[in-house]
Amino acid sequence: MQLKKSNKSKQKFIKNALSIATSTMLASISHTVMAESDWEVDSAVLFYSETDRVSVIEPVVSVRKEISDDEFLGMRVVVDSLTGSSANGAISTSSAQTFTTPSGSSYTAAANETPLDPSFHDTRVALNGSWEKPLSKTIKGIFSVNASSEYDYDSYGVVANISWDFNNRNTTLLTGLSYNIDSVNPVGGAPTGLNAMSASKTTQGSNLDKTVTDILLGVTQVISRDTLMQFNYSYGMDDGYLTDPYKILSVLDSGGNLRGTDPYLYEKRPTTRARNALYWKVAHQFTDDVLHFSYRYYWDDWGLDSNTLDVRYRYELGGGHYIQPHLRYYQQNKVDFYHYNLTDGSIPTYASADYRLSEMTTTTFGIKYGIEMDNGHEFSTRLETMNQSMGGDNKGPDVDALILQLSYSFDF
C-alpha cells in the first residue's frame, strides 16, 4: 500500500514535472513564435530618368505582420513624384510648331525636334492593404484592396487570390480575380476624340470612368529538389474611357505638309479592350546560384501582340553577398489604329499616335548587388539601362532611361 502510495506520489511528481516541462516548452515555443512574428518591413526608393523627358522618384514601404498561425496582415504605401516632358504624339517638322497645353496656355517645339509637352508634373499616392488567410490545410486566400490618387486620376480596386496545394504540395493551382474602378479627370476636360486641338476645344465631360477586370488561372509545379515551374493564363477586360486625353496626331495634306486648318487632332481609342496573356516561369538552383527565366506572350483585340523574355542570374559571392545580372527583352507589334500621322481627307474612326501603341522593342540591361546580413536584414541596389527603339511606321526617336533602386528589408 505504502509502496503503491509511493508509486502514486512518484507518478504525480512525474506528471507534474512533465506538465511543467510541457508548459515551459510551450511557453518557449509560444515565445519563439511571438519573436518570429515581428513586423516584416520592405522598403525601396526608385529613381527613373529618361533622357530629355520624364523623371520619377518613387519611395515605397511595405509592412507585414503575422496575426495568427500563417495569417498575415499587410500594407504598402507608395509615393510617385513625376516631372518632365512627354511626347504629345505630333511629328517633328522642318519648322517650329506651337501647341496648346491642356490648361489652355501654349508651348513651342523647335524645328526637327520631337514635340514634347513640358507641362507634366504630378504626384501619385497609392495604398494597398492585404489579408493572407489559410482557408484550410491546403487552401490559402490573399485578399487585398488598392486605392491610388493623382491630380487627374483616381483608382480603387479589390483583388482575391486563392491557391490550393495538392500532390504532396508539389502542385499548386492558383486563381486570381481583380476589379478596378478608375476615374479620369483631365486638365481642361476630356477632349472630344479626333477634334481639333485648341484652347477652346470641345469636350465630352470632365469626369470619365473606366473599369478593369482581370482573371488569372495558374499552376505551379515542383519539378525537382532544385527546380520550380509556373504557368499562368490571364484574361482582362477594360471598359470605359481608354483614350489618353493629352495625346494628339498631326494631320498632313497631300503634299506631306501640315494642313493649314486644324493641323492637330486629339486622339481617340475604342471604349473596350479584351486582353490575354500566357506566362511561363522557371526557377532553377545550380550549386548555389539561381536562374530565374520567364516568358510572356500577350495579345488583345486592339490588334497588339507582344513577347517578353526576362532572365536573372543570381551569382553568390559568399558571405551573404550576391550580384544578379538582368536582361529583359520586349517586342510589341502596333495596335490596329496606330498612325504615325493622319492624312487630310481620310480620318479614321479611331486613331492614336502614342508611341506606346506603336511597333517597338524595349531592351533592359541591369545589375543588382545585394547582401543578406546575419541579423536577417537585406540591403540591395540595382542599376539598369532601358532602351526603347521604334519600328514599323513609327519614325520617332528612341527613348532611353536609367533606373536606380535602393532597397532595405528588416524585421523589428
Partner: protein
C-alpha cells in the same frame, strides 16, 4: 500564326515534361524553401518594374492580377 506556334510549343513542353514531374518529398524542400528560390524573390522590385513597364509599354497581365491603376502619361 505566331499564337498557334507558341501554343503548340507549350503543349509539347507540358506533354514531354509531364511524365518526369515526380516532385519532391517534404524533407527534400531545403532548396525550394530558400527566399532566392521563390517565384517572386523581391516583391517590391516586381511592383516597381510592373509600374515602369505598364507606363512605357502596352501589354499587361500574365504574372498576376490587380495592383492599382495610374494615369501614366
Amino acid at each position: 500564326m505566331k499564337k498557334t506556334i507558341f501554343i503548340n510549343i507549350l503543349l509539347l513542353l507540358s506533354l514531354t515534361s509531364g511524365c518526369s514531374f515526380t516532385g519532391v518529398k517534404p524533407w527534400e524542400r531545403d532548396l525550394l524553401a530558400q527566399q532566392k528560390m521563390q517565384l517572386d524573390t523581391h516583391p517590391l522590385d516586381s511592383y516597381l518594374d510592373d509600374h515602369i513597364y505598364y507606363s512605357k509599354e502596352n501589354s499587361s497581365g500574365g504574372q498576376g492580377v490587380g495592383g492599382g491603376g495610374c494615369g501614366c502619361n
